[in-house]
Symmetry: C3
Subunit: 397 residues, 3 copies
């Protein structure tokens, strides 16, 4: 497998030793080398699987998944990644469990982790809560490991929080790398991360924040566009600005989809709720003020409705580089005339890019597997070589 | 293992190459050789397991299960089959997932299938919907595979739809083969697939339809019996009639349980709702007319109540060949005095055949495993020989 | 692995051949040797895992879990144990399944067990029901096995019933053995199993009953303490008394926490509902008298409130041996000022023992695995030696 040895070669030139026994919570907490290591290991795992070589490094072990919000894609991506490495998913469902009954996070985190290698968490509903919860769990299992309670230190993988959605943005990045033929080719490319109209309300900020936080690391020209009042978390915008400086890329904010699409190589039109609204909703939930939530929802839907022209359609696409930019979305998209009357994207544009969108999503299981692999395995290169030498078939054909 | 080599020998004389990468949706879409291949591989897998040889051909891979109706038996049979081959079940639960939220079938089918080898679906509630849904999923993953979205093409296995229940009817057939000592001994045997009284309402048509659609392939004399108005789907009845012609068997419709039981070798008394009623119910659901549904239910229960004498009891059984026909049921049965006041079968008859009924159900995991095996493995005989030569124990005793 | 060979040596001096193909329902149905075998195999499995040797003795097979009451710890302990041995958990959820719809226990038990090696059951809500249900399931699969319906005989493991909580008490015992440096050192040690105040109501009796039923086997001085009217099942108290006689230990009942704590080496303060109340609640549920249940709850909470001084705090602990007894709990505990206003234990005492409490819980997965191992494997010593000789890594580092 020629390309695998090339990728191992590449891996050997990257410094990622600090990923060992560490979590993956925010892309901007990782070095550029560490991000490249994830991308490279993801490609290696994909290539090994396609060559029917089993990458099952665990003969036993659990992968805990905790979804505090609905999920199909990420749930199955996590299940696929765990399975690819030999881990068995155990769902921590607060319905089934006793967490609801006043049990502390620390205790539960340890109680479920005696044989857990990884804990994947989605907690994206409330500002200031999701990522904080993940860190609380991380601290709990780290302490449990140090205290000799846990025989291994489970890795926390962020499956979407209030701040970032690293498994999504990294999958998106790997898609871009393959689409443009190499990470080096992303330098200078313009990506438009723009708000788009949706009849639904309260969509998380983590995807747009994840995209501007990550793509600015790659020397890209990142334009964030949204109607006035639909701003993201200020800290994350600051991080994007700083990243662009560091990487020699660009970061700017526009107030129209047109401006953002202008000559863009990549467009990522997606709906989200204003940061201030997500914050207010969080406070209303804390107070249990459900009338307040209803009113906020009405207000936001009315506000959204003012911006129905923020739709990614054929005319918009004409503005992009050669009218031929790559259209991206984390899915599911609100498709005009398909999943709703008026939405984020026209059926025509969506159809044109459907296969690419599916491929984009297809990287996620490998990205998650790579995140787990790099955190659990002390010497990834040596272990990958062992896997190749063992040459155990994934599927006894 | 003498009998395994005999069965491999038999397999080598069957033509089943077209099963590779194909779904299993209706038994009458399969050739006689293909059905025999499923039966033979099921027996081989059973024999290997009983000889403590692991048939785990997958070192990783997912088996997606989607149950749009309750299930215990089939759920566990599918889980057992997947596990026997080394696949891990991932449940596509529309409660947990986002499907409910307007996501297209095509997209979801691909999103969950990046590492899926098989998708087992139960969708039996609504006429014209279940089997159609399975074909929609099949088309979606076939296209995803051709577009390079999916690295493998997941097999769709029909775990009960509105038309057929192939994993049930094939397990029933394997039971008959073992009971009568060979598939050739089924020729000319009379099987009575008769309606029976049940206090419950709206039971699917897929079991009786599956039985008349399959057993008529085996040269059996199949008698379908039901009260007037309780007819099955006309197309399926037509298929049964045609099958009987082809196979040199017989197919007829009787209007009394007595007539059907007369000199029967096998009886399969089971309740079902009239086809017209299932169709009407589907339309009422489409319209959201829940009063209409309530009224229909009342009407049907009243209609059912006219036929309480359609019970499989000792006197009925006396009419069968030497009063000793084999009693079959897909379970759970409505047992008079046990699970209901008056039902499909008397406690006495059920008790006499209980062990046989349990064995009948016990073939289902192997049938499902065989369906998966024959669709995934390009050269089943060679792979089975590899399994035997590896001789890996299922259980390290 | 020196200590493993020592433990194998110990194992070879124990008589546990009767555990083969037997259930684990009550500790007092097992001989002292059998209990020691479980403890020893648990330690061996733990040691092998820590030495990165895979103990996956099953290449395929299901572990059915049925939780008729909420559970986090035990659910994950069972999942961990099954996974450690190579079994895949399949959840028998009466919500999902058809059991609710009048299907007999016998039938369901067989239908889910065609490839099941173990069935773990929690059924602790109703007096006279839980353990009885487990025996019914056991009888069903035993008969299925004898009738040739099942190819293997699934082991029933009691994951908490109305009478005992053997996986908890055995994990507690293993914790004591490690804490005091050997089972022989438990002889003569005083353990106080005392009631403690909790604002919640209707906690099962199985933990205190399990503790007095097991620790009296070890030659310990067991003191059961509770307010008047909070007695346990008389039969179990009788068993404890008898055990103490047999083992040369002591068993007594005190009416104050102080008296029980006096000079104790170990304290186990935990809330439970009075036996008479649990019995009455069971009858009320049988009658469907929900007002009666509400009234009983009120009454019990009021009764509980009289005993808020039954709290394990610093002053209470001062009464114990050198003010330094080991504090135990099955978790989650009602911690004063943390999970409730006033509870079973002060935050200060809980904090001091938190790590020990977590370690106590950490033995449960190994205890469950050992119970399964000793029931499934005909010659455990030989199999463990095979595992060591194979030396297959659990984790390919």
């Amino acid at each position: 497998m020629k390309n695998v040895s090339e990728m191992l070669n590449k891996l050997s030139n990257l410094d990622f030793k600090n990923m060992y026994n560490k979590d993956f919570l925010l892309t901007w907490e990782k070095t550029h080398d560490e991000l490249e290591a994830v991308l490279t290991v993801a490609e290696i795992l994909k290539s090994l699987r396609m060559n029917n070589i089993s990458t099952r490094i665990f003969d036993s072990g659990l992968a805990i998944s905790q979804f505090r919000d609905n999920s199909t894609r990420t749930r199955f991506s996590f299940a696929s990644a765990a399975n690819l490495l030999g881990l068995t998913v155990a769902d921590l469902d607060e319905g089934k469990s006793q967490i609801a009954h006043g049990e502390t996070v620390r205790e539960t985190a340890n109680m479920v982790s005696f044989m857990a290698e990884v804990i994947g968490i989605r907690d994206d509903m409330f500002i200031g809560k999701g990522n904080a919860y993940m860190r609380e769990v991380s601290k709990a299992v780290q302490q449990g490991y140090e205290d000799g309670v846990l025989e291994q230190r489970p890795t926390i993988v962020n499956l979407q929080c209030d701040i970032d959605h690293p498994t999504q943005s990294m999958a998106d990045l790997l898609h871009l790398i393959n689409y443009f033929g190499g990470i080096e080719n992303l330098r200078g490319k313009k990506i438009a991360m723009t708000w788009a109209y949706s009849p639904s309300y309260g969509k998380p900020l983590s995807v747009p924040q994840g995209i501007i936080g990550l793509m600015t690391r790659m020397g890209m020209e990142v334009v964030l566009a949204h109607p006035e009042g639909y701003g993201l978390m200020p800290e994350v915008v600051e991080i994007a600005r700083e990243n662009a400086k560091q990487s020699g890329g660009k970061f700017s904010i526009a107030n129209s989809m047109q401006e953002a699409f202008e000559n863009a190589d990549v467009v990522y039109p997606k709906s989200w709720a204003p940061f201030w609204a997500m914050e207010m909703r969080t406070q209303l939930y804390d107070k249990g003020d459900f009338d307040g939530i209803k009113n906020l929802e009405k207000e936001l839907l009315a506000e959204n409705a003012k911006y129905k022209d923020w739709e990614c359609n054929k005319d918009m696409m004409k503005l992009t580089k050669n009218g031929n930019a790559l259209y991206m979305h984390c899915l599911p998209a609100d498709i005009t005339g398909v999943s709703c009357k008026a939405g984020e994207v026209s059926a025509e544009v969506f159809e044109k890019y459907r296969v690419e969108l599916y491929k984009e999503a297809g990287y996620k299981p490998y990205i998650i597997a790579a995140m787990i692999f790099l955190s659990k395995v002390e010497n990834p290169i040596k272990t990958i070589e062992k896997i190749i030498n063992n040459g155990k078939p994934r599927f006894l054909k």
